[in-house]
């Protein structure tokens, strides 16, 4: 039991569990987490779907005959056929190739935004809790300020006036991350507040470890469960936010494409040309649903207070 407590979020490789006579075998924390995660069917299906989608996004474009930016002059706005499995757009581009390209872009945006915003949240939240005083007050105040500003509107303003071209999506990633970390930062702060009073943090401090190192080595690893869950759920949130912005034309710009851009075009003509809509819609729903399912499963598995993990053994 003590071993399990000390090992919160350990990076140690799984060892052979020690057999204890008369009892059932002991589980390391990692085995416990995996077991609890596997118990959640939805989450397991989510992992498989997500892996399948990632593979599809990576190698799919090489498996089909069309590239996403190739204009087929013999097929403008054609329904699905043998030649174009998901039909073509108004501009004569293959929908399947576009969907795969969009899937890749949306995945990339989702992952990058999640990593960035969770990192910002972790740093701001833990530093605010650790240092306290005026630093904490300023950090909290900035957090509040960003919560008051309507992020959607501001991102739209900045992408409208910002640079255009093939690299414009990087700005979108930065903006989505910059406006997405505030709520997590508050949670990180409140958790760090309790962790920073633990003996091992005091010990590290009194042994002369510098503050940033104390935070990154002793505080952050101990709230890593929250950070992992937060990052996972942020992936889904970022993909949905990108989709929403692109729907209005504030997101990824043509000729590049994302699932949101495709959906935005498709949703306006869904009654007459449903094939422009169905492919990307299914892709985005599968993607976000699987990410959210994995996030839920991780929460159940990692959070020791969560009741939904079932009994421990």
């Amino acid at each position: 039991m003590t071993e399990n407590l000390l090992e919160t979020a350990s990076e140690r490789p799984v060892e052979e569990p020690l057999p204890i006579e008369g009892e059932s075998k002991r589980l390391t924390r990692r085995q416990l987490i995996i077991r609890r995660f596997l118990r959640n069917r939805t989450a397991v299906v989510g992992v498989f779907t997500l892996v399948a989608l990632i593979i599809l996004a990576l190698i799919g474009p090489n498996l089909i005959n069309w590239t996403y930016d190739y204009v087929d002059r013999r097929a403008y706005l054609k329904p699905p056929s043998d030649r174009h499995w998901l039909g073509t757009t108004q501009g004569g581009r293959d929908m399947l190739a576009l969907t795969l390209r969009g899937l890749r872009k949306s995945l990339l945006i989702g992952l990058l935004v999640a990593i960035l915003s969770t990192s910002i949240a972790a740093i701001v939240g833990s530093f605010a809790a650790y240092f306290g005083g005026w630093f904490e007050r300023v950090a909290l105040w900035v957090t509040d300020l960003l919560l008051v500003i309507p992020a959607f509107l501001l991102i739209a303003v900045m992408t409208t006036g910002g640079p255009k071209g093939a690299q414009a999506w990087i700005l979108l990633v930065v903006l989505l991350a910059a406006f997405g970390w505030m709520l997590s930062a508050r949670v990180v702060r409140s958790l760090s507040l309790s962790v920073k009073e633990r003996e091992y943090v005091h010990a590290a401090k009194f042994m002369g470890l510098s503050s940033p190192l104390t935070i990154t080595r002793h505080i952050l690893p101990n709230i890593s469960s929250l950070l992992i869950i937060d990052a996972t759920l942020n992936v889904g949130g970022a993909i949905l936010a990108e989709t929403g912005l692109s729907f209005f034309g504030f997101g990824v710009q043509s000729p590049d494409t994302s699932l949101g851009t495709l959906l935005g075009d498709g949703a306006r003509q869904v009654n007459s040309f449903p094939w422009l809509f169905v492919g990307p819609a299914i892709a985005v729903v599968l993607l976000v649903l699987s990410v959210n399912a994995v996030g839920d499963g991780l929460r159940d598995a990692l959070d020791p207070t969560s009741a939904s993990g079932g009994s421990a053994r």
Binding site: T42, W141, D144, L145, L147, V148, I149, P150, F152, L153, L154, A156, V157, M158, T160, G161, G162, G236, L240, T243, G244, F247, F248, G249, F250, G260, L263, A267, V270, N271, P274, F277, A281, V284, V285, V288, L289, N292, A293, D296, A307, S308
Partner: protein, 327 residues
């Protein structure tokens, strides 16, 4: 208590002021009202373009701080939020649009919240049963679908239903349409137009709140005071309703206050898809229309809504939670 509230309020007002000012600087530098005049055919005289821009305090030849000062003093002295680049004052537009948004979101958010809270509380008492798993997955599913995809799919279904029956049961363009002149025809017409957007909003809100309420309820059900209530002889239903549900409603109340306030600008997708000319749609048109003053006004309105939600949430907690009320 009063001094505490006053201090928080002052803090909120300062926050809002800085947020709106930042938005103004951003919008004024990033949006380009001049381009609206430059694309006119036949081309306008540059001098007259400059003059109309100057008149509206939108010329980028005037230093930014000077424009900001003019804009700010106009608001403070005569509550004038400025004009759009080619139209009238923005606050008239906003005054016209607020009731539209309100009508759109009122039913859906209220209904959705009630259904969501009920579902969440119910599924928590039936954890891991079939109904719990179905509803939990259903709400996860709804929250994973972009709002406009749900709306579009419903629209297609409604069109098919209309075509199949030959009667226009479902309406999905605008707030009102042509209707007969029998008694109550206007109201029936409005309700017809409201039905689909309300349905979508109900779905989304119900999904959101059922997830929150389920988690909170599970926490409450596992807590000691519910066990004590059972141990002292209360029947399960009474322990659940009186002790678990009531406690778990407190945080939901704060969420509700926030969502209601932010819905004004959050229903943008519904407004665009169902052609309601409300605040959310205005936010989008101001940006695509390079309307600096309009965009800032919408941002300010949204900020007021968030802060209103925060204050409402504080009050809700004070009402629902005796610990806060008494201290």
């Amino acid at each position: 208590m009063g001094r505490y509230v006053a201090r928080r309020l002052l803090n909120y007002v300062i926050l809002l002021f800085i947020a709106v000012s930042l938005t103004y600087f951003l919008a004024a530098t990033q949006l380009d009202p001049r381009s609206l005049y430059l694309i006119v055919n036949p081309p306008l005289d540059p001098v007259s373009i400059e003059q109309s821009l100057l008149q509206r305090n939108l010329s980028d030849n005037v230093p930014l701080l000077e424009r900001y000062w003019t804009w700010l003093t106009d608001i403070l002295t005569s509550w004038d939020w400025g004009d759009s680049p080619k139209g009238g004052p923005v606050q008239e537009e906003i005054r016209r649009r607020i009731p539209v948004s309100l009508r759109l979101i009122a039913f859906g958010s209220l209904l959705g919240t009630i259904i969501g809270v009920a579902l969440g509380a119910w599924t928590a008492t039936r954890q891991y049963k079939f109904s719990d798993r179905t509803i939990t997955f259903g709400s996860l599913f709804i929250l994973s679908v972009p709002a406009f995809v749900i709306a579009s799919v419903l629209q297609v279904m409604a069109t098919n239903a209309n075509n199949a029956t030959g009667v226009r049961v479902f309406e999905f363009v605008g707030e009102t349409g042509s209707h007969g002149d029998y008694f109550g025809a206007g109201l029936a017409d409005r309700l017809q137009h409201l039905f689909l957007p309300t349905l979508v909003l109900t779905f989304i809100n119900a999904a959101f709140f059922s997830r929150i309420q389920r988690n909170l309820m599970l926490d409450a059900l596992g807590s000691d005071f519910v066990r004590t209530a059972r141990a002292k002889g209360l029947p399960q239903s009474r322990a659940v309703m009186k002790h678990a549900l009531r406690t778990s409603l407190i945080p939901t109340g704060t969420y509700f206050a926030f969502t209601v306030a932010t819905l004004f600008t959050g229903a943008t997708f519904m407004e665009i898809i169902f052609s309601f000319h409300g605040m959310g749609e205005y936010g989008v048109t101001t940006i695509t229309g390079q309307d600096v003053h309009g965009a800032v006004a919408v941002a300010a309105f949204a900020g007021v809504c968030v802060l209103g939600g925060a204050i409402l949430a504080d009050i809700m907690v004070a009402i629902l939670d005796p610990r806060v009320r008494l201290s």
